[in-house]
Subunit: 241 residues, 2 copies
């Protein structure tokens, strides 16, 4: 892990890094004690997502957490995944035509991302937890729900997760969801144009966690109400502090 | 409205009252300014429910709200509704036998209650809002969701409601739900043994409110997590203060 930039802002230290060829960002609070860590997921494109990620990170550091994110495979400045781009175009075509989204499209779109991203998040976690100033426990928040789900299955260091049911989940990962046992807060937009409501409810049902809460709100993909940010913060605090 | 008992406890004034032959309880904070009012629903049986209602009321008065409740028709010391008792027995039989709960049972169980209780809540509201120390706005919280739904349709003084999707709703009241426009927080227990999950989701979908949030948690009817009480308080504060 190499830090490539550093600045202090509003009581936090913001650092860009690379881990191999993966770019990432780490925000740490100015505190003597090792901070719990929140891994922040996103839909891809760190540059475009930066303002929203920085705002989420600011909310974390204000509460004494470190926050970190890495670029998704095939997104931002990383090498493209032509097969994934093609599947994304097929998804858009199906949605525009009002056709059902086939399992084949979802598999081609999401499985290569999950297969690449999950080991990358784990390697990032190894590197982050080796830094002074970052301790545990670790939470995960947002991003591509299929990636977060598989990460929650395979990565025992993640203690709780806030998931956004805003993207399609391959059937094989829906099955893996039964092995998730950590506390979950799942956010669902009732009329998400980029997901299927019943599939999202099926996924919520599938998670094996004893404590899982679904927060469903009106509106489309980008309409998550502001108060859900506060709710996510309270959920994280309940489980990580 | 006649007050029949009065005591001061933990900074609040607790008064039992009767409105005609309906018993009720009013909790008011010790404050000079007129307090917003929360009507607290419950499943019937004020005596049995008193400890939980008093705890909910205490949380209200601590935040500067008045809280009030009345006995349900056919419950506690009020005259029985033999036809409703019979429907309740039919419901228990169906649930025990693992049979589907018919629309006929739900209608016979809930419609007479709603038809009697809704005007009673409205008369109570008239009387309460005429008291010094109680102002508006008014929220409704908990209880039989079919009663709360119809009340939200017909009673314009109710500004927001926390609903517990823990009991069956007749199809006619499911249709009425489309006319509800106030902000709603709907609590759902994912494996409620006294309700049907899909019907609860259909009801949530039916509400006409632009702002409505569903909080679904694991477990049965009585397993609502403690943190949902705090969430309900924040929802009420957002809309009533």
């Amino acid at each position: 892990m190499h830090f490539t930039s550093e600045r202090r802002l509003e009581g936090a230290l913001d650092r860009e890094f690379t881990l191999g060829d993966i770019p990432g960002i780490l925000w740490t609070p100015e505190s003597a004690a090792p901070a719990p860590l929140i891994l922040m997921g996103h839909p891809g494109g760190l540059g475009k997502m930066y303002p929203r990620l920085a705002a989420r990170a600011r909310a974390c550091t204000a509460e004494g957490y470190a926050a970190a994110t890495i670029e998704l495979p095939g997104a931002g400045d990383r090498p493209r995944f032509p097969a994934v781009d093609e599947a994304r175009a097929d998804l858009q075509r199906a949605l525009k035509a009002g056709e059902p989204v086939s399992d084949d499209i979802v598999d081609r779109l999401v499985l290569p991302l999950a297969e690449t991203a999950v080991p990358e998040w784990r390697a990032t976690l190894d590197a982050l937890l080796a830094l002074p100033g970052i301790g545990g426990p670790v939470g995960f928040s947002g991003g591509v729900i299929a990636i977060a789900t598989r990460l929650a299955v395979v990565e025992p260091r993640i203690a709780a997760a806030v998931l956004f049911a805003g993207s399609y989940v391959p059937r094989s990962i829906l099955e893996e969801a039964r092995q998730v046992t950590i506390p979950l807060l799942v956010l669902l937009q009732w009329d998400d144009e980029g997901n299927d409501r019943q599939h999202a409810l099926d996924l919520f049902d599938a998670f094996g966690s004893r404590e899982k809460t679904l927060h469903a709100n009106m509106g489309g993909h980008t309409g998550v109400p502001h108060f859900e940010g506060d709710a996510a913060g309270r959920f994280i605090t309940r489980h990580l502090k």
